[in-house]
């Protein structure tokens, strides 16, 4: 009998909300949204944790410029180190920059181990940066943390939304709480105006924009569409520098979305 599963709820008992940032494909901005979301919530004065669950391609530490990662402190388990007010945990504390070639069962075991031994303490939000798709880590979070709420990221690409639909379908089938969908990396040259104006201009015409189309596709699932984030050419340059990151148009757009989420779902 695996003794670790039963203790996980106990480890997370003082965490008010657990938000998993997920999406179907790699490279669509899950880690960027998860890291920046953690940063925004922290700047708003909330107690925030960030757990990078992407063992194959951990990147939250790169986005936040965390370089001095080391073993977490030990106190009745492991205590995540704090950076910019965010309690941060990633496999990089244990693997450094080496590859972690883990098969499914190993991913499951590592996810469960980290959840069972980590003392997050009291948090308003624990943000989980999920790996792409609906594989082992996603299924484990759904299975083990029943109250985890999902924010799903897509890009305007058909390739992204078609895969995201599969994720949404699964989450709905398993009755997983879904906060909503964010459309990331819209091309400003294609959609030069604000989303609101785009919507009004094209709402009744035949010339639907991709943005509207995705919004409609999401709404067809009866899932909230949280908002759009335009592709930000300055984002790349902000990677590793939280001050620059916080001032990007990417972060500002996300902040507007966060405010909307908090309005609808105040911290309990």
């Amino acid at each position: 009998m695996d003794p670790r599963i039963e203790v996980i709820d106990k480890r997370l008992k003082d965490v008010k909300r657990i938000i998993a940032v997920a999406g179907g494909k790699g490279g669509i901005g899950k880690s960027s949204v998860a890291s920046t979301l953690a940063l925004i919530l922290s700047k708003m004065g909330h107690k925030v944790g960030l757990f990078d669950l992407d063992f194959s391609g951990p990147s939250s530490h790169i986005i936040l410029g965390i370089k001095d990662y080391e073993f977490p402190k030990e106190d009745k388990g492991i205590v995540p180190s704090e950076y910019y007010g965010i309690k941060f945990l990633s496999i990089i504390s244990f693997s450094e920059e080496n590859p972690s070639p883990l098969r499914g069962i190993d991913i499951s075991n590592a996810v469960i181990e980290l959840l069972a031994i980590t003392q997050w303490g009291s948090l308003d939000y624990l943000i989980i940066d999920m790996p792409p798709g609906i594989g082992d880590a996603t299924l484990d979070i759904i299975r083990i943390i029943k109250r985890a709420e999902f924010i799903v990221i897509t890009t305007p690409s058909k390739l992204s939304i078609q895969t995201v639909k599969k994720s949404l379908q699964l989450l709905l089938e398993l009755k997983v709480p879904i906060i909503g969908v964010i459309e990331n990396m819209l091309d400003r040259s294609v959609y030069p105006n604000s989303p609101f104006v785009v919507l009004r201009r094209t709402g009744k015409s035949r010339k639907f924009t991709k943005s509207l189309s995705i919004k409609e596709q999401v709404k067809a699932f009866n899932i909230p569409f949280l908002g759009e984030i335009y592709f930000d050419k300055d984002f790349e340059d902000s990677i590793g520098n939280v001050n620059k990151l916080y001032n990007t148009s990417f972060a500002q757009s996300l902040k507007r979305i966060v405010l909307k989420i908090l309005q609808n779902y105040p911290t309990k």
Partner: protein, 137 residues
């Protein structure tokens, strides 16, 4: 100490089993400790006693047997099997410490001694496992 979290997991699970099975007293818990996780059994025992303390009624007479299990690894590519104790000598202190926290980092720091692949199975001896819980209803 990280052993405390694992001891806490063992006792939390035992309490849950006792509740589900209607056990009024636990007589024995057999815990297997896999070699890969290099758990310090003295610290683990100490932590167990501390965690058990508030559960006097249920666990007062419980004997905890700790069995260690040797870690065996098997390569997925060339099917070679080898013992972790022979491989651990080549690991640095930090690498062993990583395995202590997350045994799966074996795939980061160990390679098949025959074909050098990181694609191997941990056949046995990964981490902590409850072998059995005995008690009276």
């Amino acid at each position: 100490m990280h052993e405390w979290a694992l001891a806490d997991a063992v006792i939390t699970t035992t309490l849950k089993v006792a509740e589900n099975e209607g056990l009024k007293e636990i007589s024995e818990i057999i815990v297997k400790i896999g070699e890969l996780q290099t758990i310090d059994t003295e610290i683990f025992n100490f932590a167990l006693k501390e965690v058990m303390q508030p559960q006097k009624k249920l666990l007062e007479n419980a004997k905890i047997k700790i069995k260690s299990e040797k870690a065996i690894l098997k390569c997925k590519v060339c099917k070679h099997e080898w013992l972790f104790k022979n491989a651990v000598k080549n690991l640095s202190e930090d690498e062993t410490e990583s395995l202590h926290f997350i045994p799966e980092t074996a795939h980061v720091y160990l390679r098949c001694p025959k074909c050098n692949s990181p694609d191997f199975e941990i056949i046995q001896g990964r981490g902590i496992w409850i072998d059995s819980i005995s008690g009276e209803r």
